[in-house]
Structure formats: structure tokens, C-alpha cells
């Protein structure tokens, strides 16, 4: 297997991956190391993981990180309510303490959270740890332990070894600097906004029904728009929304009606100041250049 097979497999699932990204994915699979993807919001980092799980026909297990995420949300938690009930009913049945303890700290009472779930699958799943930079540094440390040994220690139950090594993909928007320890453990790929040809291929692959002229105009417009000074640069997802909006409105040429173009910009510009900045004239000018 070479990296082109990965690229082709992703392309079959309508994901156009750059060469660098394909090589990185191929290595992540071959070397069984986690892959850290960084890049601006909306360049398709999360989508890589989803597509990879489709292409390999495995389960996608997703852990969305947020501030304050801790072990009980990410790895495992005991089902406390059930434990409490069991203890009460056991007391009425006259069960001994030791037996009760063994029972309530068994796998039946364990709530598996994404990380534990990912290492206890029969076939290697794709484990997506999304927006790792939102979690705090304490969580990074937990994660390192899981990613290096692929095992989870539960004090009451012992160590749970991985039955299969998941394919781990981490994404980051760069809102916080990740620790060096985590970066070292991972392969790294920076996902940039796609160039004109790649983005055209993405649009063609996702919306095959869009006609050639409009597709070229849309890509030209979005590429030009990214060079403007915007608070939030539109990503690939926004571009697809934009194309879908234009098609839904039955527009065949971007330059033909500035007012309609302006109204579809809500799919691309997501802050008030960006919308104010891109007046109808400016939009029409960019569309004219793009055509």
C-alpha cells in the first residue's frame, strides 16, 4: 500500500486530499502513530477523520474537547446511580460487603467514554479528538498516557489493555499552544486553504451538478475573498454552502445580479463587520475579477 491508495480511497468518498496530507495519513496508518492536523477553521480537518472511517469501513469515535473536559467525560465513569441502587438492594438481600463491592465495580457498572470505547473495539476504529486546543493542559497529560500505551488504568478494576489500536486523529485550531510532549508523540500535517485547482476539484466532487462556468467563478470569488482583510476567512465548508445557495437560487453567472450575490454572501461572511466591509460594490468588483 502506498500513499496514493489512501488518496484514492479518500477521493472515492468525495474527499480531495493534498499529497502532503495523504502521505501523513498513510504514515499514521503504517506506523500506528497519532496524526495531529492543524489549520484554520473550515479547511476540512474533522472531515478527514470522518472520510477515513468511511473509506476503511470502521467506526468513527469522536471526542469533542472543551474547556474543563476531564477524565470522567473522556475516559470512563462509574454509573453511580446504579451502584447506589445495587448497594441498597444488596443490603436488603443480605449480600456480603465483598460480593457487593466486586459487583458494583465490574464492567457492567462502567460507563465507557470515547477514549476507553476506542481501545476496546474489535476492529481498529478511527478516534477523532476534535479541537484538542480547547481542552486544558491537564487533559493533554491524560491523553498522552492513553496514546503512548493504549491502555487505561482504572483503580477499582485494573488496567484495561487495548484490544485494537485505534487510528487517532487530533485536530487543532491553534487557539492555544499545544505541549511539546503531545506534538512529539504525533505526526503532524498543516492543512491550509486549498489552492484553486484543488478547491475546484472539491466543489466538483461534492456538488457534481454545478456547471463549469459557475464553479470556476465561485472558486475564483472565494479565493479572492480570502485575500481580503476579513475577521473570519471563509473555509471550504462555507464555499460549498455558497455554491449550494447559488444553485438553489438558480444563478448561472455571479456577475449578473449584484443584489442577489450580496444576499448569498451570508453563507461566506460570518461576522457583522465582515458583512459591512464587503459592500455590494466590493463584492461585484471581486466577482468581476474572478470571472
Amino acid at each position: 500500500m502506498t500513499w496514493t491508495t489512501v488518496q484514492i480511497a479518500l477521493a472515492e468518498q468525495n474527499y480531495v486530499a493534498s499529497n502532503d496530507l495523504s502521505v501523513a495519513l498513510h504514515l499514521a496508518l503504517a506506523l500506528e502513530r497519532p496524526l495531529l492536523l492543524e489549520g484554520a477553521a473550515g479547511v476540512g480537518k474533522t472531515e478527514v477523520a470522518r472520510t477515513l472511517s468511511l473509506a476503511r469501513n470502521t467506526k468513527l469515535i469522536r471526542l469533542q474537547c472543551y474547556e474543563g473536559l476531564d477524565a470522567s467525560q473522556a475516559i470512563y465513569e462509574w454509573n453511580y446511580q446504579r451502584q447506589l441502587l445495587t448497594i441498597r438492594s444488596a443490603a436488603e438481600d443480605g449480600e456480603t460487603g465483598k460480593a457487593v463491592e466486586d459487583r458494583i465495580f465490574s464492567r457492567d457498572f462502567l460507563l465507557e467514554r470515547p477514549l476507553l470505547e476506542a481501545i476496546t473495539q474489535d476492529t481498529p476504529p478511527v478516534l477523532l479528538i476534535d479541537e484538542i486546543d480547547r481542552a486544558d493542559e491537564e487533559f493533554e497529560a491524560y491523553l498522552l498516557e492513553v496514546l503512548s500505551d493504549y491502555q487505561v488504568s482504572i483503580p477499582e478494576l485494573g488496567t484495561i489493555e487495548a484490544t485494537s489500536k485505534p487510528i487517532v486523529i487530533l485536530t487543532s485550531n491553534g487557539t492555544r499552544d499545544l505541549s511539546d510532549a503531545l506534538r512529539r508523540r504525533c505526526l503532524y500535517a498543516y492543512v491550509d486553504y486549498p489552492d484553486r485547482t484543488t478547491e475546484l476539484a472539491i466543489l466538483k466532487s461534492r456538488c457534481p451538478q454545478v456547471d463549469d462556468t459557475l464553479a470556476r467563478q465561485v472558486i475564483g470569488f472565494v479565493q479572492k475573498l480570502r485575500q481580503e482583510e476579513l475577521e473570519k476567512t471563509p473555509g471550504v465548508a462555507e464555499m460549498l454552502d455558497f455554491a449550494a445557495a447559488l444553485m438553489g437560487l438558480g444563478i448561472a453567472d455571479l456577475t449578473e445580479n449584484p443584489a442577489v450575490l450580496q444576499s448569498t454572501l451570508i453563507t461566506l461572511l460570518k461576522t457583522q463587520s465582515d458583512q459591512a466591509h464587503l459592500t455590494m460594490d466590493v463584492a461585484a468588483r471581486i466577482a468581476g475579477k474572478a470571472a
Binding site: D20, L31, Y80, G174, T175, D180, Y188, Y190
Partner: protein
């Protein structure tokens, strides 16, 4: 077009070259351990190693760890593998400053000691046009001071130690009560189920003692921006010492200098040796004591670093007198943008301590509406006195 490097015939094979490449990368500031060479060789067996582009992608995925490194990697790769024999060329003169020294490699990743070099800094000759002699020349200068000054002449080691104590004090007064994690505590607002159930086992399953958990206090991140333009140079001593102390006291703190440009000095100040840190700083702070472009510098900060390092838990400290050569609207716009990141902005102005001072300088007046606190600060004692006011924020 570059060609593949021809290695000498005495070269002992692929692994030696790979080790050489790792050394080359380390020399250029990438932090790599011993394991990377091994992984790289292993990884190359998974692709067609005879194709330079494949090798490039593979090595990029393994050896780089952030965007900046990934961007520089092409040049580094070319200079080693595609340079037709000219091996080990230094690609970028500035070495990437690093946060800590704990590369898990026995080899020292830096290979250089900027603090000890000293050759690039000229001792202060005191002839910079903007150098204030304390007689109150308070006009922002437009001239960019290109002379380098060795900041070690200005800041003394004892001051840093003193400043460290002040910085610690300020750090403790800035507590934020918004951690989302909960930890076990004697008094808390939520039940700590895990502990409660464990404890209840001893009472036959009857949870007699309810254990609680609460949100712990959390420190705020301090981001300090220090104006070192000509009009500020007599105060620079205090603030630089404070910055150096701050870096040593708070592990999350972040520091920048600006005059006509903005320079991030966090890594330099983290040096274990305080004086060496200041030495490294002088290498980065060329232009010290020159003109001031507060607005553009703040704007640049808001556009770049702030997006990564400033969030709702940050307190941005700005040390400046507000004398700007650029229009004041720049300052207002930059601060407004910074404020959107939900941080607190504190402006410490040495002139405010003067009797009858009014913030009439255009820049200062423009900044006022965006500030959470506008306070005087001339000496370390003044900074220490801020403790209570900061605590009230």
C-alpha cells in the same frame, strides 16, 4: 533547479545521513529527539524513498510540529538533500527561540548560547537621538533607532529577583473563579459521587457523608506589552525587570516589546539564567529607545499573537506613555479588537504618577474607553501597590 545532494563516498549509508539531517534540523532550531531519526528511517520504507517529493512529505510529517516549522521545512530539506553537495548550510540565521530546555534528547538542541555571545550587541554609547535624559522630552520620535543597546547594562540581577516577588504578588491577586473543572473540596456546590459511594460502602451502602466538589480558583494568564521607545527608555529598567520577573513567577505569562515593531520575548525571558535572558532580549530588541508606533504594534499584536494566546482568562498589561507617532485611531481600533477576545486590558502609564497629569496625548485619550484599569506605575513599589486594584477586577 537544485539537484540531489551527492554525499561523499566515505559516508556510511542512509542512517548516517538521516542522523546528519536531524542534526541539521536541530541546528536550525527544530526540537527533535533521538527517536525521530529512527522513525524517519522506518517511515521511508513505507513510501518510495527514491522519490524526493515522497521523502519530503514523510520527513515533514515526522520532523515538524507546528505551522512555522512546517513552512520552513522546505528550505531546510532542500539545503540538506537537494543542494548538490553543499551540506549543512545554515538556512535561517535566527534560531527559533525555545520555551524550555527539556528536549528529551541527550543532545543539546540549541548548540548555541545567545546570551554568552555578546558580540552582536554594542555597549550603550548613549548617543541615540531618542535617548531621554530625564529632562522631560516627551515627544514621540519617528526615528527608528537602529543601534543595539545591551539591556544587560540597564537591568541588574537583584532587580529581577525583586520584580519576581512583585510579579508573584500580582499573579496571586489575579485569581479567576471560572474554572470549569471541579475538584474534591470540603465545601462545594456539587456532589462528588465517586468519593461518596466509596465512603458509603463502609456504612452498608447508606451514603451518610456526602462529599462535595467545587470549582477551584484558577490563575489568569498575564500578557504584558512593554513600550521601549525613546520616550519610555528611562522607565524601561523597571518594566523590563518586571517582565523578566513575571516570566519566572508565572508559567503562563507572555511578554512582548514594542517600539516601531512588535517582538515576542517570552521564550527569551524564560531562560533559566536571568541575566542571560536579558542578554538574549537585547539581541531581539534592536530599535530599543527609538520611535514609537503604539497603534500599529498593538494592531499587529491583536491580529497575530492575540488570536493564539489571549482569551477570556487573559489580562493584558500595557506599559506605555501613550505618545504615538501614528494617528490615535489606530490605538482605539486595535484595543477594540483586542477587547473582543474578552480579556481585561490594563494600561500602566508612568506619566500618570505626575502631578496634574491629564491623558491629553491623543493616543492615551483614544485608548481610555477600552481600558479596564488605567493606573500609574513608575517603580516596582508602584506595581506592587496595584495588587488590590487588580484583585478587584
Amino acid at each position: 533547479m537544485s539537484r540531489v545532494t551527492r554525499f561523499s563516498s566515505r559516508d556510511s549509508g542512509a542512517s548516517a545521513r538521516m542522523v546528519g539531517f536531524m542534526a541539521h534540523l536541530r541546528e536550525n532550531g527544530l526540537r527533535l529527539g533521538v527517536a525521530e531519526a529512527d522513525i524517519s528511517l522506518n517511515a521511508l520504507t513505507h513510501v518510495n524513498a527514491a522519490r524526493p517529493d515522497d521523502c519530503r512529505s514523510v520527513l515533514r510529517a515526522i520532523c515538524t510540529g507546528c505551522k512555522e516549522e512546517a513552512e520552513r521545512f522546505d528550505d531546510l530539506f532542500d539545503s540538506y538533500w537537494m543542494d548538490s553537495g553543499r551540506v549543512k548550510q545554515r538556512v535561517i540565521a535566527k534560531s527559533l527561540p525555545r520555551l524550555n530546555d527539556d528536549v528529551h534528547s541527550s543532545k543539546d538542541g540549541t548548540g548555541e548560547d545567545s546570551g554568552a555571545s555578546g558580540s552582536a550587541t554594542a555597549p550603550d554609547e548613549g548617543e541615540g537621538e531618542a535617548d531621554s535624559d530625564g529632562t522631560g522630552k516627551l515627544i514621540a520620535t519617528q526615528k527608528q533607532n537602529l543601534k543595539r543597546r545591551d539591556l544587560r547594562d540597564i537591568v541588574r540581577a537583584e532587580e529581577i529577583a525583586e520584580a519576581e516577588a512583585v510579579a508573584r504578588l500580582i499573579g496571586t491577586s489575579l485569581r479567576d473563579r471560572r474554572s470549569r473543572r471541579r475538584i474534591a473540596a470540603r465545601k462545594g456546590d456539587r456532589l462528588h459521587f465517586r468519593k461518596t459511594i466509596r465512603r458509603s460502602l463502609s456504612t452498608g451502602g447508606e451514603p451518610l457523608t456526602l462529599l462535595k466538589r467545587k470549582r477551584p480558583d484558577r490563575t489568569r494568564k498575564i500578557v504584558a506589552l512593554c513600550d521601549v521607545s525613546g520616550s519610555m527608555s528611562i522607565y524601561a529598567q523597571v518594566f523590563l525587570a518586571f517582565l523578566a520577573g513575571l516570566m519566572r513567577a508565572e508559567k503562563d505569562a507572555d511578554a512582548y516589546l514594542f517600539h516601531t515593531r512588535l517582538v515576542r520575548i517570552t521564550e527569551a525571558l524564560r531562560d533559566k539564567d536571568a541575566m542571560r535572558a536579558i542578554g538574549r532580549l537585547s539581541l531581539m530588541a534592536d530599535g530599543f529607545g527609538g520611535g514609537s508606533k503604539i497603534g500599529p504594534s498593538l494592531q499587529r499584536f491583536a491580529d497575530t499573537y492575540a488570536k493564539r494566546f489571549v482569551d477570556g482568562r487573559s489580562v493584558v498589561l500595557i506599559f506605555s506613555d501613550g505618545y504615538d507617532t501614528e494617528p490615535p485611531e489606530h490605538i482605539a481600533a486595535a484595543l477594540a479588537q483586542l477587547k473582543k477576545r474578552n480579556c481585561k486590558i490594563i494600561w500602566l502609564n508612568p506619566l500618570k504618577g505626575w502631578r496634574d497629569y491629564e491623558p491629553v496625548a491623543g493616543g492615551m485619550a483614544a485608548a481610555l474607553p477600552h481600558l479596564d484599569l488605567f493606573a500609574p506605575a513608575n517603580t516596582l513599589a508602584d506595581l506592587a501597590a496595584l495588587e488590590t486594584e487588580l484583585g478587584a477586577l
